[in-house]
């Protein structure tokens, strides 16, 4: 067995694989489970809601791939892969898909109010965030700053949506948790060891949030 592969198999990548697999499958089932409702209604809220989970599936797939490559190539940080153009492209797609997952989820709640600027602005913003992550290689500080900007965006948008909510429900809290734990998953990729002591708890909480949405979507879409 090649030494790189032996290293991969002994570094807990199995847990990463199961964790990523469950979230990717749950996200894709939310996406495909709501296809008929969207095709019949063409409702914009459903469109962006589905889109968010497609981006989550893409981002979690790339996240697992990055974890695998880091262990296989015996690198500590994604930044060490960046001189390689493939590493830069993978990081760009990962950050872009991550930002778009959060933007789409928030936009699905706010699309009636934000109709004027549409999703194009958010696509551009996600692209700019991804470019900053790739080209400004200052390491942890820039990465933390980017996550802090996304965190601020989530807190602001969800709190505004919460104030204007039509009825009492817990979705805003679940969306908030889903997004915050996803940001911590991004930090885990960008800054190794940063969340290490809480990693198991973060994985469990992320799984919980995704499975709650998955269960509710399945129940409500049939």
């Amino acid at each position: 067995m090649p030494p790189q592969l032996a290293r991969v198999l002994t570094t807990g990548i199995g847990i990463e694989l199961i964790y990523s697999f469950v979230i990717i499958v749950a996200s894709l089932m939310v996406y495909y489970g709501t296809r008929e409702l969207y095709e019949l209604s063409s409702h914009k809220g459903i469109k962006y809601f589905r889109q968010a989970f497609l981006f989550f599936a893409i981002a979690y797939s790339i996240r697992f791939f990055i974890k695998f490559i880091l262990v296989y190539a015996n690198k500590r940080q994604i930044i060490h892969l960046i001189p390689n153009p493939v590493g830069a492209i993978i990081l760009f797609i990962f950050i872009y898909a991550s930002a778009m997952a959060i933007f789409s989820l928030v936009y699905s709640l706010k699309w009636k109010k934000w109709r004027s600027f549409g999703m194009t602005v958010l696509h551009i913003l996600a692209g700019v965030i991804a470019l900053i992550a790739v080209f400004v290689q200052e390491g942890p500080i820039v990465y933390l700053l980017l996550n802090f900007v996304l965190f601020g965006f989530i807190i602001y948008s969800v709190s505004v949506a919460y104030k204007n909510r039509k009825k009492k429900n817990t979705w805003y809290l679940i969306y908030l948790l889903l997004s915050v734990f996803w940001l911590l998953n991004i930090v885990d990729i960008l800054i190794p060891d940063f969340i290490q002591p809480f990693q198991f708890f973060i994985y469990l909480a992320s799984l919980g949030a995704f499975l709650i949405v998955f269960y509710k979507v399945l129940r409500k879409s049939n």
């Binding site: 809220g45 979705w171 409500k220």
Partner: protein
Amino acid sequence: MAKRGKLEIIRDILKIVQENHSIKPTPLLRRSNLSSSRFKEYFAEITEKKFLKKIDGKIFLTEKGAKFIEKYKTILNFIDEFEL
């Protein structure tokens, strides 16, 4: 009477066609309680989505249209549940 939403208007038009099995455009316009311009707008959208088909000047409900009527409540519940 509360203003009807887009999905409700589409459901109402499809229901009229379903109840009549087939119907001509003018009575459909009259029974839909819409202005002529709004009816044209909705009718174009509904036929583009293949919920209705026109054969020999008469309008029929398609299988997809019947599916919309069947799933209408589920769609509304879903939008309401997730506040979309």
